[in-house]
């Protein structure tokens, strides 16, 4: 049996603890006085900012309560932003504009600053935080995506790039393999070798504290990670490795449950993943080696609750496996990050808030994690599935509403979808609008920049929190009864639950009980799709990728053979195979390496 059952118990115990504290605050006068004094003192120290129109606003809004029981319920049950159990936010100030000198009051810097604590580079509190905007991009060949990266990040202080890979790369297949030619550079960038990786991030200082790269790939993630490191070393020398910042998705469980981009058998995939996590946790302290993802579970059709429940349980399963290998939860724990979908269903008002709380309680009380390893650090993407082709400009409104929900949940970073996504890789016009939507929300509007908790804690939000938390714990119990995450996966429990939910969703669209404007309600009668500029990869570019790869293989043939033999030998043992992958990545292509690994461990058997 897994530790998931213990997490359910721990959450229950925590609720009991909160109830006990409330009771104590109402019966123990000394305790009540202490709490009230702490509360009042804290409130009085909250700094105040002035809005452009001149009204003063506290940088943190707290509920207007003065009764000790209620104060206890808030402090222990929700926690202040940045405090256990982190219901309101992982950090104290999130998206707030930096405090100006002439404004009053101060927070101790150590309790705030999402940006400085995550890169540890600067102690200076005046440094502006990183923008949470992180836009996903990838098209054609590496140099084409590189150009797009420069275009997108031109106006940003910090360069936060998010990389989409094409189909062959996601499946660990080389561009010169039979039958994949038409897929090269479609839906993402084609990466076959370390040389592509050099081209991809050309012109960016990958070791700088202002740079971070995110790579959305899971099946062959350890190989791509090795190529990223190899490329960085080529450009900046070995010394750059400890400074590398970013995320690689590498989430095998969600692939098997929803997205179907797995290339090795589950056990072998997990072993390669854990090898990589151990290596990067030790050698790249600023890297996030796995992004535990619900996004694709949501996009495959799950309900919001299923999405959160499977994501959290997958995360706990990784922790359990890493600890079973002897890894230190306080070393790898802070390097775990999460990725959720945000759609328009009511649950999304509090889905990430509840997830943050359950993660913190589980990590602290079941796995003994310290404060840094309790944080559920979240990237959110607005829902691609919620967008439709019919009268596609409505997608701007859908995405804007989803962005509001995502930021109300205090996400740490966010991607907003382009309105043209239902029919193409986003074109520059629409991706620019998507990016601006976030800037309008965070910088132009006053909703999130003056006051933390601006929209938290409404009675409706509380109601959603309670319902969502209960439903997530019920899902945990179900998974636990099937032998934990691994047992449930082998029984294809998550897959069939997701498929059922997807089927229900489609039926609701067809029978009209789920209104989709301009699709099943208020149609304008025309089925014709809009004229939009399509981002498609020309054959000549696809051929260029194939030609370059063939030259690379010819040039490195002898060395590659040697490295692959070494790699295969290591994989046969129990040793951590990531160092061997790093060496192979210098001279071998992605397909050569994945093929070599498949010879030893076999191929993934699809689940339906």
């Amino acid at each position: 049996m897994s530790k998931l059952g213990a997490v359910v118990e721990a959450v229950g115990k925590h609720e009991q603890f909160v109830r006990d504290q409330v009771k104590r605050a109402r019966s123990d006068e000394k305790f009540a006085r202490e709490l009230t004094e702490r509360w009042n003192k804290f409130k009085s120290e909250i700094p105040v900012s002035k809005t452009p129109t001149g009204i003063p606003l506290p940088r943190l809004a707290l509920p207007e309560i003065d009764e000790a029981g209620e104060i206890a319920r808030y402090l222990f049950g929700e926690g202040l932003p940045g405090e256990f159990p982190f219901l309101n936010a992982a950090y104290r100030e999130m998206y707030l504009e930096p405090l100006q000198h002439n404004e009053q009051g101060s927070f101790k810097r150590s309790t705030s600053a999402r940006s400085t604590s995550s890169n540890g580079a600067k102690k200076n509190g005046a440094r502006p935080p990183e923008e949470p905007t992180r836009l996903f991009s990838g098209l054609m060949l590496a140099e084409d995506t590189n150009k797009r990266f420069h275009f997108l990040s031109a106006h940003q202080r910090s360069k936060r790039l998010s990389t989409a890979f094409d189909g062959p790369t996601l499946y660990g297949i080389d561009s010169d393999a039979d039958g994949v030619f038409g897929k090269i550079g479609e839906g993402g960038v084609a990466v076959d070798t370390v040389e592509d990786m050099v081209r991809l991030y050309d012109g960016f200082e990958v070791g700088s504290p202002d740079f971070s790269a995110s790579m959305t790939i899971s099946g062959p993630a350890p190989i791509i990670m090795a190529m990223y490191i190899a490329a960085a070393k080529r450009r900046f020398g070995n010394g750059v490795v400890p400074n590398l910042r970013g995320t690689i998705q590498a989430d095998i469980f969600k692939e098997v449950q929803a997205q179907n981009e797995t290339i090795f058998p589950i056990e072998a995939s997990l072993r390669f993943l854990l090898d990589m996590i151990e290596w990067t946790s030790a050698n790249m302290p600023r890297w996030y080696p796995v992004s535990i993802s619900g996004y694709h579970i949501g996009e495959a059709g799950s309900t919001p609750v299923q999405q959160a429940a499977y994501t959290l349980s997958n995360g706990f399963a990784y922790v359990e496996m890493l600890m079973a290998r002897g890894a230190d939860v306080n070393v790898f724990g802070p390097r775990l990050s999460f990725f959720l979908d945000c759609g328009l269903d009511a649950e999304y008002i509090a889905l990430a808030r509840v997830s943050r709380k359950i993660w913190a309680i589980g990590m602290r009380d079941v796995f003994g994690a310290g404060p840094k390893a309790q944080l559920f650090k979240l990237h959110t993407q607005t829902s691609g599935r919620s967008l439709v082709a019919a009268e596609f400009k409505n997608n701007l409104t859908r995405t804007a509403a989803e962005l509001m929900l995502a930021y109300m949940n205090a996400t740490n970073s966010c991607h907003s979808n382009s309105a043209d996504e239902p029919f193409t890789t986003p074109s520059e016009e629409w991706i620019r609008l998507a990016s601006h939507a976030q800037a309008i929300l965070l910088e132009e509007s006053g909703i999130f920049k003056h006051t933390m908790n601006m929209l938290s804690g409404s009675p409706g939000m509380k109601a959603v929190e309670r319902a969502v938390e209960k439903a997530i714990l019920d899902e945990f119990r179900e998974i636990e009864s099937l032998g934990g995450v691994m047992g449930a996966v082998e029984n294809r429990y998550q897959r069939s639950q997701i498929q059922n939910a997807a089927h229900r969703y489609e039926e609701q669209i067809y029978d009209g009980t789920r209104p989709i404007i301009a699709l099943n309600r208020y149609r304008n009668g025309s089925d014709e799709m809009p004229e939009v500029e399509l981002a498609r990869t020309p054959r000549s570019r696809q051929q260029l990728q194939v030609d370059r790869l063939k030259k690379f293989k010819a040039r490195n043939a002898a060395k590659a053979q040697k490295e692959l033999e070494k790699l295969a030998a290591v994989v046969e043992t129990d040793e951590n195979c990531f160092p061997a992958l790093l060496e192979a990545a210098e001279v071998c292509s992605l397909g050569q390496i994945s093929g070599c690994l498949q010879e030893v461990v076999g191929r993934f058997r699809p689940m339906v």
Partner: protein, 397 residues
């Protein structure tokens, strides 16, 4: 009543978006269509091979990851090249396939593209209207095309078709796999196929796989979707729906098997649907060797007394022996077999594991006649026949 329409559905290579096709498959089968589902991330060559072997009327492709113009056109081209251009191609890709794309794809021979928002009922109606016509004879025909069409004729006549006796003197060994649903029969067979293919360079394997028909007479024939090694030109696989017959096989199984047994294969494998305790699917000496595949989670020990196949199977495979209960299960089943006093074999496997030693052992038992299990006298004749097709003599062919 006419025979059900058979179509094949798949998702292209480098594409794992199976949410739409899963929903569409369910709608098809609910309306009486038999769907052979090949799964996601499939090459053009895999799709075309499967379509030919399954002799479907049409291929439905669900593509969400780009490159669709090229991919669909490749499928059409490949079908034509192999003389199977009567198999039609249709598909969709939500919003990723534009109207312009669709026009180009139609010019390249694709029948129909469905766009986002198309009601499922409209797709069902389209398939029923266009793909129910009787199949025409083919001008050019290779071995697999001919065989596939003969199997269709047998199946649609509910097995009441006389086989023309083949001149082929070589008889394949026929192995029957049965057992409860979820025991891992398909995975086990696919792992055995890998070993068959590796042992020499020319032998061919046929697989006759069964899935239940549902109310409304459609069926989801999904065994191919989880197979990786059997997507090979040296494997001829046919998926059959039970079409109303209880017991794990189809009314046409026996006739189809006769045809396959007279064709140029070295091994023919039959997989039943997931069976219950009372099932005894292989009658009339249908097979040379029977393999019962079990899961360690069969419940209390008493349940074993009720499983009829435990009395007649030549080999009992206990799969998933990495599970906690496996050790107890193995000893309970072994004890049960000892009571039979029939020299039955028991093999412990973990079929999902690459290079599993238990599967190697099973492969040995199947391919090596010396370790054959036919110790009982009434099986003597078949034992003799089996030795003719054993691994050693096959190499001559």
């Amino acid at each position: 009543m006419p025979a059900p329409i058979r179509i094949l559905t798949a998702v292209p290579i480098c594409d794992g978006h199976d949410s739409a096709i899963n929903t569409i498959n369910l709608e098809f089968i609910r309306h009486g269509i038999e769907v052979v589902y090949l799964g996601f991330h499939r090459y053009v060559s895999d799709i075309v091979r499967a379509a030919i072997q399954e002799d479907v009327a049409a291929i439905g492709i669900s593509s969400y990851n780009g490159g669709h113009i090229e991919f669909f056109a490749d499928v059409v081209r490949h079908l034509k090249k192999l003389g199977a251009s009567d198999i039609k191609v249709f598909g969709g890709g939500g919003g990723t396939i534009t109207h312009d794309d669709a026009r180009e794809m139609k010019r390249k021979g694709v029948d129909q593209i469905f766009f986002a928002g198309t009601p499922l009922t409209e797709m069902v109606a389209y398939v029923k209207k266009h793909y129910a016509k009787p199949r025409k004879a083919r001008a050019k025909s290779n071995v697999d095309l001919t065989l596939a069409r003969q199997l269709t004729e047998i199946e649609d006549a509910k097995g009441k078709v006389k086989n023309s006796k083949s001149k082929n003197s070589k008889r394949p060994k026929v192995i029957g796999f049965t057992g409860p649903g979820g025991a891992g029969k398909t995975t086990l067979i696919d792992e055995l196929v890998l070993r068959f293919l590796k042992q020499d360079r020319q032998s061919r394997v046929a697989i006759l796989s069964h899935d239940p028909s549902v109310v409304g007479e459609g069926a989801l024939l999904g065994d191919r979707a989880t197979m990786i090694n059997s997507q090979d030109d040296r494997v001829f696989m046919r998926s059959m729906a039970t079409r109303g017959q209880a017991g794990g096989l189809s009314p046409a199984t026996e006739s189809c098997l006769q045809l396959l047994a007279h064709s140029d294969f070295d091994y023919v494998i039959i997989e039943t649907v997931g069976t219950g305790q009372e099932a005894m699917p292989f009658r009339n000496q249908l097979v040379d060797q029977t393999v019962l595949v079990m899961n360690p989670d069969y419940g209390a020990r008493l349940q074993l007394q009720k499983i009829v196949m435990l009395d007649v199977a030549d080999i009992v495979v206990v799969n998933k022996t990495d599970l906690d209960r496996a050790k107890a299960a193995l000893s309970e089943i072994e004890h049960r077999l000892t009571q039979n006093k029939r020299d039955q074999q028991i093999v412990a496997t973990v079929a999902k594991r690459h290079r599993d030693a238990g599967v190697d052992e099973l492969f040995e038992l199947i391919t090596n006649s010396k370790s054959s299990v036919a110790a009982v006298s009434d099986r003597r004749n078949r034992k003799n026949r089996r030795s003719e097709t054993a691994a050693t003599s096959r190499k001559k062919s």
